[in-house]
Amino acid sequence: MRIVKHVLLVFLVFISASCSKLILQPADFAWPVENVIKIDDKGFIEEPRYSFTINVKPLFQEEFADSNLAIGKEIRIIRDNLGYYYLTGINFKNVYLFLPDEGGMQLEETYLISETGLLSPVMNQKSPNIELIDGDKIYILNNNGIVR
């Protein structure tokens, strides 16, 4: 019986190994610098260097409870080495972390930074972290939370 258990365990290990998806690792997705992109009339931002377009109206719905506020505003976006996108903007209380999903981006984390809203936020790549500066306040963020 004990032998049967061991055989089954080995068999299980083989099956689970053969079913796992192929992952290419390690990777570094870090952008050297954030991008500041103006939102168009339809609520889209277009990133020229990495060439993608995405609708950010739901983000404004989430942040301000009004998706129409998105039009004409600026979004600051940067990606860390693990591939998380950090999005924020002027008057945002939060920084949003997204990961790419099929046909879009999925919200992974929301970090509350300022109850009164950020006045002039900028983000810098400080791999493996992201530095957020708002006036004289400096925050260090990563996918696990606000480091300091």
Binding site: P32, V122, I133
Partner: protein
């Protein structure tokens, strides 16, 4: 003392903190700042109008490089596909090219300045030569010495004019190199450079002067077909260059009324020059006929010339029988042997055809009509009959002579038999 030291340390710490806070800025903004200043320098290079400006831009480039050297790693990534170093290599190269343009411009301006001096000297000489030739021409009777002196002066004037034409052409050619671009795409600096070159070479005045001296030269001298052919070629070449540069200069000087008028005036002068050469050629041909008392109707182009010659020949043919035969023959031989076949056809017709002043068809029409005229004056048929009759008479005489000799021999033979 100790408390003072503590205070100092606190102040220093505060200053350092303040500096750190002030220093904290967006990498994005740093990159944008770099890109903006880089673009300003690039534009500065394009708009630079002097070598000094280029040197100042060179200093600014070095300053920019020094200022951003600490952000090299960031800029290497953000300037993609360029890097920090490649961006500076690129802008420094652009600056060197622009500096090269100015060095070339300085050289060309000096060259134009030298050409201008030479042109002025030659123009002055030409003026006095033309006056001297006029004086000599006015002399009623010209002795051998006067003629020799006249010929020498004309040769000198011809050479001077050619030399000056070449110098002016050099200025125009040097300007042509400036027009690699379409005038509408030239920036203010490039336009300014063309203005100064035109002014430095006194271009418009010199072109006008060249044309008017050539016209004057035709007036004061007697030109051979070769001279006129050469002059026609000069006009053609110069006009070709002017047609390339004239409209471009007109574009560059758009809005400067006086210059636009001057350009239009030069266009007219080129037409006038061509017209005068043509007139001179037709006058010379007409003179050849007049010298042989052949009066042709006035002509100024190939068609008129053909019509005039054909009309003259037709009149002569009509007058056969009205005029005395010797008179008709004399006119015919003067026209054909002394003028047309001796001078006009070999010397002038090729020039006329080459310069599209006359067509092959015009020439054929004239020669066909001369052939017809010849048939009336010295008909080929009459000529042949005369010789045929003459030959026939000779043959008859020979036959008669031979027959006579044979008859005589026949008569001698029976007499010999009878003696036996």
């Amino acid at each position: 003392m100790k408390s003072k030291k503590v205070i100092n340390n606190i102040v220093l710490a505060c200053l350092l903190l303040l500096a750190a806070v002030t220093y904290a800025q967006s990498d994005f903004e740093k990159t944008q700042n770099f890109k903006t200043r880089y673009k300003q320098l690039e534009d500065g290079i394009k708009d630079a109008i002097t070598l000094e400006e280029c040197n100042t831009i060179g200093e600014s480039i070095a300053k920019l490089k020094k200022e951003f050297i600490n952000d090299k790693a960031l800029l290497d990534k953000t300037l993609y596909p360029e890097t920090f170093e490649s961006s500076f290599t690129k802008i420094e190269k652009a600056l060197e090219v622009r500096k090269g343009d100015f060095t070339q411009i300085v050289e060309l301006t000096t060259e134009v300045g030298t050409l201008k001096t030479q042109i002025t000297e030659i123009s002055e000489k030409n003026k006095s030569l033309i006056a001297e030739i006029r004086q000599l021409n006015l002399k009623g009777e010209k002795d051998a010495a006067t003629i020799a002196s006249l010929q020498k002066l004309v040769a000198q004037l011809r050479s001077n004019i050619q030399q000056r034409d070449m110098l002016v052409r050099d200025i125009v050619d040097s300007l042509l190199t400036q027009f690699v671009k379409v005038p509408s795409t030239l920036n203010d600096a490039e336009k300014q450079n063309i203005y100064s070159k035109v002014e430095a070479g006194n271009l418009f005045y010199n072109i006008e002067r060249t044309i008017s001296d050539n016209i004057q030269f035709m007036r004061v001298t007697e030109l051979t077909p070769e001279d006129l052919s050469e002059m026609k070629k000069q006009h053609k070449d110069f006009n070709k260059v002017w047609r390339q540069i004239g409209p471009r200069l007109a574009d560059v000087y758009l809005g400067k009324q006086d210059k636009t008028t001057e350009i239009a005036s030069i266009d007219n002068m080129f037409s006038l020059w061509n017209q005068r050469i043509n007139e001179e050629i037709w006058n010379q041909i007409n003179k050849l006929f007049r010298e042989k008392q052949i009066s042709l109707l006035q002509f100024n182009n190939g068609d008129q010339f053909t019509t005039s010659v054909v009309s003259f020949i037709d009149d002569e043919i009509k007058n056969i029988g009205v005029k005395r035969p010797e008179e008709s023959e004399n006119t015919y031989y003067a026209f054909t042997d002394s003028v047309w076949f001796q001078t006009v056809q070999p010397n002038w017709v090729p020039i006329l055809i080459e310069n599209k002043m006359m067509t092959e068809a015009n020439k054929d029409t004239i020669e066909t009509r001369i052939g017809k005229w010849k048939e009336y004056i010295a008909p080929a048929s009459a000529f042949n009959w005369y010789y045929i009759i003459l030959i026939a008479v000779i043959i008859v005489l020979i036959i008669a002579y031979l027959l006579k000799g044979k008859k005589k021999t026949n008569v001698d033979i029976p007499s010999a038999d009878s003696n036996q």
